[in-house]
Amino acid sequence: METDTTTNNILLELRRGILPLAVLAQLYEEQYGYSLLTGLSEQGLDIDQGTLYPLLRRLESQGLLESDWRLEEARPRRYYKLSAQGKAVLSRSKEDWKRLSNVLSNILKIEE
């Protein structure tokens, strides 16, 4: 039981670490919150609503995203997209992610 909890905590931290990158990558094209959530879910990355939306606001406050409200189907929706700074950060992060991914794959092979 204790091992399960520890494993869950490690996986939770791992997911928390990769979420900003996944969200930034999805927002090359603008999307509203719920479509982003379902889009990520369809690709195998389920995110809790309580995690995604605060993350979007944080990324926006860091200048990586831009957002605006639009009236669609008689109700307002907030659309998010990458800012110029967000695109630059995403580009650098992708390179770093590839390097890290290779490093970790090698490490995990050694462990096996």
Partner: protein, 347 residues
């Protein structure tokens, strides 16, 4: 939709006013999207049961609201080490000052035995008040700095963590406080044995003596009350102290049992000193005794006797303060110390 309004209102109640409307609007939009999607997938119209089902997928209102806000703390993790350093410097100083104030109060007032307990209680209460006041002020200052001076954080820790550092400047490890000091304990045993022997078997030596007109004249320094009322208790304390020191030398280190016995001995010393302070004077020497020696006028003799009485009184007050500080410091270390073994195994 009534439930959605209630849910959003409850989330909003936990949000800061500045961002409340915007976040509430966003949550409403998300919930409506989710309901629409759910209705389409199930082929059913949106009803209260469906709203309940969707709301259950979301976090309870306080948890969702908390996710929208940064982690809140009074003193942040970056400034905490600096805060602890200041606390460790300031609190002992406050404690010593409070103990000195307590000592001065004792010295200025004539206490009878009934006043001892109340004065002692007031003194301890004053010390505790001082510590909490000082701690409160330090917390307040750090909390204000944390919120008003962003550069304060960088100066406190970032410069240490991120700046260049010289491994050669690392402090040398402190000697283990648990190891006993053999030389100090040996000297203490010798002095205590001498005092015990002198006071109990040769009290006549503890006197003021002078040679006048070819013959020795002597007057006892301490009163009969001291020898009859206080010396048995003092001898008991000294006896326990000697046994404790012998045990410490044989064991080579402080252990919880020896530490607590040491604290008990110190407490008994304080209590005895307070009783002596509150009781009649323990000095037997009078001005007429001194004047009878022939070399001093009565006025000069009175002055010297007064000085001796004050010296004895102040020696007792200083003993009370020193023992008090020692007790607090030792008890603190005993209660809150971290074993070096634990540190090594947990790091």
């Amino acid at each position: 939709m009534e439930l959605i309004n209630r849910y959003i209102a409850e989330v909003g109640r936990h949000l800061p006013e500045k961002t409340r409307i915007d976040i509430e609007q966003e949550i409403r939009s998300l919930l409506e999207d989710r309901l629409e999607d759910h209705s389409r997938k199930t082929g059913k119209p949106v009803d209260e049961d469906m709203v309940v089902e969707v709301l259950k997928e979301y976090s309870p209102p306080p948890k969702l609201a908390a996710a929208y806000q940064p982690e809140r703390f009074l003193i942040g993790p970056k400034t905490f080490p600096a805060f602890m350093t200041v606390v460790k410097i300031v609190l002992p100083i406050i404690l010593i000052l409070a103990a000195l104030g307590f000592g001065l109060q004792l010295g200025r007032t004539e206490l009878d035995s009934q006043d001892i307990v109340s004065t002692f209680t007031e003194g301890i209460s004053g010390m505790i008040d001082s510590i909490f006041s000082a701690l409160g002020i330090i917390v307040l200052v750090f909390a204000i700095l944390e919120r008003t001076l962003p550069e304060f954080k960088s100066k406190s820790l970032d410069s240490v963590v991120e700046g260049e550092w010289d491994p050669r400047k690392l402090p040398k490890p402190a000697p283990s406080p648990e190891k006993v000091k053999f030389a100090g304990l040996s000297i203490e045993i010798a002095i205590t044995v001498i005092a015990l022997t002198l006071f109990n078997f040769y009290p006549e030596i503890i006197a003021v003596s002078t040679r006048f007109a070819g013959e020795w004249r002597s007057a006892p320094l301490l009163s009969d009350i001291f020898y009859e009322r206080y010396l048995p208790w003092l001898s008991l304390i000294w006896g326990v102290q000697i046994i404790l020191n012998v045990v410490l030398i044989s064991r080579g280190r402080w252990e919880p049992v020896t530490t607590w016995i040491y604290l008990a001995v110190k407490t008994a010393t304080i209590m005895l000193a307070l009783v002596i302070l509150a009781g009649p004077s323990i000095t037997a020497l009078t001005a007429s005794d001194l004047a009878s020696f022939g070399s001093l006028a009565l006025e000069q003799a009175e002055l010297i006797v007064n000085i001796i009485r004050q010296v004895v009184r102040w020696a007792l007050i200083i003993a009370v303060i020193a023992s008090g500080v020692d007790i607090i410091s030792t008890a603190w270390k005993q209660l809150f110390k971290k074993s070096s073994v634990n540190v090594l195994t947990t790091s």
